[in-house]
């Protein structure tokens, strides 16, 4: 019998196993490739400490640089809204916390489901606006390649299907829940091999810049 339940059981079972394997192995390969390559020994006399400057830069680079904000406030604000909305939906919705607990064995308190719902709605609208801006702004459009649109799609689909599932807007529910899980699996599979890796590598990049500047005694 091929039913929506069969579909849900597949995405919750073998489908998730495959996606988890590709995600974890892919991310570890990408990260270890970078880390094991190492840095050349710096024989110059250090003028400052690497540790503090590296950590500080991790934080300071999170705030927008003034000039960027003045030049393109929409990109900066929109970027913040959807990143925060995505992270809230991913990490503070109780069913997601249950999933993380089952994989990693760690959990934390969630927030009200209807609050997550409202934030998710704002995130979806923002993502659509960001795409519109990318398609209509001549410079952004020129800078965008197929991978940028692909990563937008695989980021947008989990948000959209999650919203549809929460509001039970597609019948039967196992079908829409299955589509939501499948879209997340698509994101997990493509994650290590696209720009989405920045979710991990931004830490390495910021640390490197900050630590290097710290050693030279300059402001990062």
């Amino acid at each position: 019998m091929s039913t929506s339940i069969d579909f849900l059981l597949w995405v919750r079972g073998p489908g998730f196993d495959i996606a988890l394997f590709i995600f974890v192995v892919g991310v570890l390969i990408r990260l270890l490739e970078v880390l094991i390559l190492g840095r050349k020994p710096d024989y110059s006399e250090p003028r400052g400490a690497e540790l503090g400057a590296g950590l500080l830069t991790l934080v300071t680079r999170t705030a927008p640089e003034g000039g960027s904000f003045k030049r393109s406030p929409f990109t900066v604000v929109g970027g913040y809204i959807w990143h925060i909305g995505f992270l809230v939906s991913l990490f503070l919705f109780v069913p997601h916390i249950e999933l993380i607990d089952s994989v990693l064995g760690i959990r934390w308190p969630g927030i009200a489901s209807n609050l997550v719902d409202a934030i998710a709605a704002v995130t979806i609208v923002t993502l659509v606006a960001m795409l519109f801006s990318r398609l209509t702004h001549p410079v952004k459009r020129f800078l965008s390649g197929p991978e940028d649109y692909l990563t937008w799609v695989v980021t947008f689909l989990p948000m959209l299907t999650g919203y549809l599932a929460y509001h039970r807007m597609i019948d039967p529910y196992p079908l829409v829940l299955g589509l939501h899980i499948l879209s997340v699996e698509l994101l997990m599979v493509l994650f290590p091999f696209t720009k989405l890796m920045h979710a991990f590598t931004f830490i390495i990049a910021r640390w490197y810049n900050g630590a290097m500047a710290g050693r030279r005694g300059v402001q990062s």
Binding site: M1, T3, S4, I5, D6, L8, L9, R12, G13, F16, D17, L20, F21, V24, V25, G26, V27, L28, I29, R30, L31, L32, E33, L35, I36, L37, G38, V94, P95, H96, E98, L99, S102, V103, L104, G105, G110, I111, A112, S113, N114, L115, V116, R168, P172, Y173, P174, L177
Partner: protein, 368 residues
């Protein structure tokens, strides 16, 4: 014998009156049935009229790979009630658990009912049908498959009662040693209604029969062959704990403060969001309660493959596999492959550095 014939020729209304069911009680049942079937109140007199005049239809109840829970549910939960009397007053011509006859006499009763009511009788099936080997389940030397096929041949409609008959149920659960299948996978040329549940709600079974008696047809069905009127809404949508789901208030254990306050049971494995049934509205035991009200999450028993849908106590959002162990293996594999890729990169860099020819000032002078 004469009494039996008289009983057969009686209408349902006459039969109910003889049993002492009041007009008021009967109309109350009709109103409840109309309400359950989402029909307007104006339909109540029509239902009453149709049911009163209906002759007792012949019903042949076949029990295959099952636990008799469906029959137990039907006969015990509301007794005595109008619903049960309605059920008593169909002509139940064959039913292992309830009939007095046995052996050849029982099989003769089934064959007589089939011949006398050709094209008009209803076949109710509980239990799945084993296809791997006919010997796994047989009655009077007849395999379940053979009995189903020959009985259904002259039937007006088939009602698959319980999740085993509707979707294969427990016998169908992985690894399905008997090759169990549902009724719908065998019967393709007759209308089949799936009244799923483990067990199904008694009023839903009688409601389907009442619909057939009233309109002469089966109710509208969903994609899984279940009557929309009873299976059109999910447990989650009609759950009285739903506001707590929306507020993010979840019970952590079955006896904590949250559980006592009626908070949502999602974290304790409730499958309400994916389960379509009338438990939250029809309830059980004469409307006393239902599983979620008594403090236990929904098992999703009216859905296909509910035995294989992960642990009953795992939240619906948890993937159906041993993730902690698998994650360990996957991380190990990732570290090994990543280390190998990293080492390869270093070696490539070292080789490139070794190949690099250093140019000195003297070399440049020579060239110029």
């Amino acid at each position: 014998m004469a009494d039996d014939r008289k009983k057969l020729s009686m209408t349902l209304g006459e039969s109910l009156r003889q049993q002492g069911v009041s007009r008021r009680g009967f109309l109350k049942y009709c109103a409840a049935t109309a309400s359950m079937m989402a029909l307007p109140p104006t339909m109540v007199p029509a239902i009453a009229q149709a049911l009163e005049k209906a002759k007792r239809p012949s019903v042949i109840w076949l029990s295959f790979q099952e636990c008799t829970g469906c029959t137990e549910s039907l006969t015990r939960s509301h007794s005595p009630s109008v619903e049960n009397l309605i059920f008593d007053h169909i002509s139940l011509d064959y039913h292992h658990t309830l009939q007095v006859a046995s052996g050849d006499a029982a099989e003769a009763a089934r064959e007589a009912a089939m011949h006398e009511n050709e094209g008009k009788y209803i076949v109710v099936v509980d239990g799945s049908i084993p296809l791997a080997n006919p010997g796994y389940s047989s009655i009077a030397g007849i395999s379940n498959l053979q009995m189903l096929e020959e009985t259904v041949a002259g039937a007006a409609a088939v009602v698959a009662v319980g999740s085993c008959a509707a979707f294969g149920g427990l016998p169908h659960a992985n690894p399905n040693p008997t090759g169990a299948v549902s009724v719908g996978e065998i019967v393709k040329d007759k209308p089949v209604v799936n009244v799923s549940g483990c067990p199904p709600i008694p009023t839903v079974i009688t409601g389907v029969l009442a619909h057939f008696l009233t309109f002469g047809s089966l109710p509208e069905l969903d994609a899984l062959g279940r009557p929309m009127v009873f299976f059109g809404q999910s447990i989650h949508d009609r759950c009285y704990r739903r506001p707590f789901y929306d507020k993010g208030l979840f019970a952590e254990t079955f006896d904590d403060e949250g559980a006592r306050k009626g908070w949502c049971l999602f974290r304790l494995g409730c499958k309400g969001p994916m389960t379509y049934n009338a438990c939250a509205t029809a309830k059980w035991n004469q409307g006393t309660s239902w599983p979620v009200e008594s403090g236990h999450g929904c098992l999703g028993c009216s859905e296909p493959d509910f035995w294989d849908a992960g642990g009953f106590y795992n939240a619906l959002s948890i993937p159906d596999s041993d993730l902690t162990r698998k994650t360990g293996y996957v991380v190990g594999a990732g570290v090994a492959l990543g280390a190998a890729a990293g080492a390869l990169n270093r070696s490539t860099r070292a080789k490139a550095a070794a190949k690099h020819e250093t140019v000195t000032i003297d070399d440049l002078d020579k060239k110029s």
